[in-house]
Each structure stands twice: as C-alpha cells, then as structure tokens.
C-alpha cells in the first residue's frame, strides 16, 4: 500500500539541534522558548527569541516548518509569560502553536486566528467528544494523541473526528497520563504540567556506590544499576522498587518507544503526522533518529517494507517497544 508520506515532526532543544533536524530531513521541527512555558524546561535548553527568528529563517529556506510548543499550563495569576510566548511565536512566523491550556487556546484563537493551533499531548485528549470540543471551541486543527491507544483505536478515532492526528513514533515513554501526572510534583514540588520539567535536574543526584550507580530524585532512590547494566532516566514512573521482597519496575521499565514497525498500519489508520520525542537530546540523536525515520516514512509511503532503523543505541535502557500501538500486555 502506498500513500501520502506521514509528516515527520522532529524535536530541537538548541539551534544546533534544529539545523541537524532540518538537514536530516525533518518536515517540521518543534521547539520551545527558554522558560517554563514549554514542557522541556531544562537548564541550557531551548530558544531565545532571536534564536527562533534565525531558526525559522533556516528552516523555511529549506522547506521545513517550525511548530512552537507553549504547552504547559499557565500559572494562576501570572499568564503573561504564556501570552508573550504565544504572541512572539505567532509574530515571528511560527507555522503552528502547540497548546494545552484552554485559556491559552482561547487567547491564541482570539489574538492570532491565522496561526494554526495544535492540541498538545499535555491536554490528554483521546476521545471524539473531547477532541471535537477543542476543535469547535478553539479551532484546533490537529491533536497530538496520548500514548495510550492501539492502532485500531486510533483508526476508529480518526473516523469520528474533524481534525488531523499526530502520534508519537520514537523516544521516551511516558506514564501515559500526559498532562495529569503528578509523580514529579509529588517528589520535587515541580511538575511537567506546570513547570515544564519532569524530574528537575536540581533534584536529581547520581552516586557511585561500589559497583552500582544509584540514581535519586529528591529523597527517593529511583534505581540502582549494577556495573554494565544499561541505565534509564531518573523518573519515579521508571523506578525500580522493592515490593514483596522483590525489586522490580512497578510502573514502567526504562525503555523507548519505536513505532517504525507499525508505520504502514498508522498510515492506514489515517494518522497525518509522526512525532519524534527528545527535545532534551543532543544533535547526534536528532541527526541519527530523524534520518532513520526519514528513510522509514518514505519507504512506507512508497509501499516498501520499512527497513530496520538500527536505533537501539539511542534508546533508554537500550531497549525499545511498540508501546500501546501493538498492545500485547495488560
């Protein structure tokens, strides 16, 4: 089966990563400003306004678009940073805004009706009624689906909604309650939803104890990795805890999503775009993963088998999964 190529939406946390994504064949690069208005608010990451202006020029000259994520929830009583982010992104010429907060969606619709609005995965909209509401109330033209749906469920959903869908194709997994997870806030007082950061670096510590690397988040020990065992991120959802006398992963194992093997099925399900996770990752990750998915997306569009991508070295815990797309677990 051949068809229109899926739009390849790729991350960038720095200008260098943006250029790497564009050069590797991204259709779109998504990014955020250097503050708490986006869900990857890590130290030294993200874009100043001049960097966005330069990035837009670089991308547009090469036929690539830029989406700006303003996808955290505005702080009560202080919406100004979020409003400024929307205004600046729209005025600089971003091709779309990725938003989650309904107040911000309303602001963007009223102030910048000509700029496309996409619904962030942070809004956690995964049923026809919710998605139709976002479309009717705020003119949302695309929804980024949470990583909880099977391919069959996505196909059924696409048949019932008036907007495009974008799904995650590769990268870090989430506890599958995007926009509603409070684990990081419980451990550190800071959350991805409000502060744009899950497991903030200020609360993360690694320690070498004998032959083990111990990772801690706040006052919680997240994991202990013996020498040689691949490591994972220091998030509570991927912690290895002792229960019933056995140490194990209670929520999720450290592993990365790789949906490359189900690209034809996602195309057949009516998905419009694929999102690669990893704005916090380096240029080498961006260049390698984007180039691999460019090959995969083009192969799928031609109706050819998707080639093995060989991205195992880029995955968390050096393991990959198709996640909920091919749900064989409970």
């Amino acid at each position: 089966m051949s068809g229109t190529p899926l739009e390849l939406v790729c991350p960038a946390g720095t200008p260098g990563a943006l250029r790497a994504a564009v050069d590797a064949g991204a259709d779109v690069v998504y990014l955020g400003f250097r503050d708490e208005t986006n869900a990857r608010n890590f130290p030294g990451l993200n874009f100043s306004r001049p960097e966005l202006r330069d990035g837009l020029a670089y991308a547009h000259e090469r036929g690539c678009r830029i989406y700006v994520a303003v996808n955290t929830f505005a702080a009560a009583g202080n919406p100004d940073p979020w409003h400024r982010a929307v205004d600046d992104a729209a005025e600089l010429g971003a091709d779309a805004l990725i938003l989650a907060d309904i107040g911000l969606l309303d602001y963007a619709r009223r102030r910048h009706p000509e700029t496309r609005r996409h619904l962030s995965v942070q809004a956690s909209a995964s049923n026809p009624t919710a998605i139709a509401y976002y479309h009717e109330a705020f003119g949302v033209q695309r929804v980024v689906l949470p990583r909880v749906l099977t391919v069959t469920e996505i196909a059924r959903l696409n048949a019932q909604i008036p907007v495009e869908t974008e799904v995650f194709a590769f990268g870090g997994m989430c506890v599958m309650a995007e926009g509603r997870c409070v684990l990081s806030a419980y451990a550190t007082g800071r959350s991805p939803n409000m502060n744009g950061v899950c497991s903030p670096a200020s609360h993360v510590r690694y320690e070498q104890l004998g032959g083990r690397m111990v990772s801690r988040l706040g006052r919680f020990t997240i994991n202990q990795f013996p020498d040689g065992e691949p490591a994972g991120y220091p998030t509570l959802c991927k912690g290895r805890f002792v229960a019933g006398g056995c140490a194990g992963y209670l929520f999720e194992e450290p592993t990365s999503l790789d949906a490359s093997t189900v690209l034809p099925e996602l195309m057949a399900a009516g998905v419009r775009a694929l999102k690669i996770e990893g704005r916090q990752r380096g240029r080498a990750y961006i260049a390698e993963v984007v180039a691999a998915f460019r090959r995969a997306v083009d192969a799928a569009a031609r109706g050819d088998p998707v080639p093995p991508l060989g991205l195992g070295g880029m995955t968390e815990g050096l393991r990959e999964t198709t996640g909920a797309y091919a749900k064989t677990w409970r």
Partner: protein
C-alpha cells in the same frame, strides 16, 4: 564525590597507552596548551559561552578514565579556565564530575555523540549538580565544536600541510586502535571461549529448569488426584 574515585577499568586503547607515556610529564607543562585551547574556544564558539552564562560559579572535574590525569573547568565571572590535575581528587568539591573514556568525552564535546545515549550505555558517568551538567552539555552540544577545525585555524597559511598531517595522524590512530583490538581479542580469546561454553551450559540448565517447573504443577496435580479415594478407578 569521593577523594579516591572509582574510575573503572579502561579498555585497551591508544589513549590508554599514550597516558602511560605521559605519566612522567609534569602537568604544569600542559597549561599553555590548555589556555590556548580555552582562548580558541571562546573566540570561535562565543555562543557556547553565552549559554554557559547561567552558571555563575560552577566547576567541573572532567575525568578521562584512560588518562593518568583529569581536567578541571571553572566557569564564572572571570574567564573560564581549564587545568590538568591528578586523579586523586585534587579539586575541592567540584559542582559536578563527568567521567568516561577520552574519546567519548571528545565526541560529546563535538556533539557527535548523544549525552543521554552515553549515559544509558554507561559510557558516561556523572555525579553532582545535574543542573550544571545539563547546562554544560546543552551549551557544548549546540555549539558545533570541531576540535580538528579549531586546531587547524591556528595554522593560518600553513593550514593545508597541517590538515594533511592531521589526516595522517588520524589514520595512524585508527590503525593503532584496530591493532590493539586484535591484541586484546588474542589475549581474551581462550577466556571468551570458556565463557561461551559456560553460557551455553547455563542456557541448557535454565531450559531444563523451566521444563521442570512446567511439569511440576502437572505432577503435583496428578499426585493429588492419585491420593484421592477412588482416584485409581478413574
């Protein structure tokens, strides 16, 4: 952070051998080269240092585990400086420690290797202030640093011959890496053979154990049925 860090066991590599050769060298002799390198970095990669402005007073112990010395990097209001120090924790309370083979650290500096991937594979170990580590990582990753090109920029009109010399040096290094890998493989071949045999034996035992576990419930159930009165007639 400990005074006697666990540096692990470095792999056999040209860097490791070069480190042995450098061991008698007083570290102070490296200082002019390190000062020149930092000056060059600041001139050619000012954007990196702009991103590092967020770190007002941070210090890093950068520990190439295959060399007999470490580097310290201090950032702050004054010009950033890099020093060579011994491996025994000469630096007092650095903000953070980055530890890995020299080539891994160079590839990270040049953005040719992803920091998270290096961490996942355990090629890179980090300790201390993770905000400082991430700021440093993100700043250098974005900078487009290319050590060879930066070095060649010093040669001005002699750039051409210097580039050729560098090419020869890179080829020699690659050859030495391959040769040392052959040496390593020859040394460990017999051990690896025994390990393979033991792995195969272990796999057989695991299969046998799994088979026994599958049979046990059935055997137990059959035993219970047989123990029931009248079961023999069934």
């Amino acid at each position: 952070m400990t005074n006697e860090p666990n540096r692990g066991t470095p792999s056999l590599s040209p860097v490791l051998l070069a480190g042995f050769a450098l061991r008698p060298l007083p570290l102070v002799l490296l200082q002019p080269a390190l000062d020149l390198a930092m000056s060059l970095m600041r001139r050619r990669h000012s954007d990196v240092f702009e991103r590092l402005d967020a770190l007002e007073n941070a210090s890093f112990l950068i520990d190439p585990v295959d060399l007999p010395f470490c580097f310290t990097l201090r950032l702050g209001p004054a010009a950033p400086r890099l020093w060579a120090v011994g491996t025994g924790g000469d630096m007092e309370s650095p903000s953070a420690v980055l530890r890995g083979p020299l080539l891994v650290l160079i590839r990270l500096l040049e953005g040719r290797m992803d920091g998270d991937a290096a961490f996942f594979s355990r090629d890179l170990a980090v300790e201390g202030d993770m905000e400082a580590v991430l700021t440093l990582r993100n700043a250098v990753d974005s900078g487009g640093i290319d050590l060879a090109e930066d070095l060649l920029s010093l040669f001005g009109p002699m750039n051409g011959p210097a580039r050729r010399a560098l090419g020869v040096a890179e080829a020699l290094f690659a050859r030495a890496e391959r040769d040392l890998e052959s040496v390593r493989a020859a040394f460990v071949a017999s051990v690896e053979g025994r390990c393979d045999a033991q792995t195969a034996r272990l796999r057989d035992l695991e299969d046998d154990l799994a088979d026994l576990r599958t049979r046990m419930p059935r055997a137990n159930a059959a035993g219970k049925r047989a123990a029931k009165p009248g079961a023999a007639r069934l």
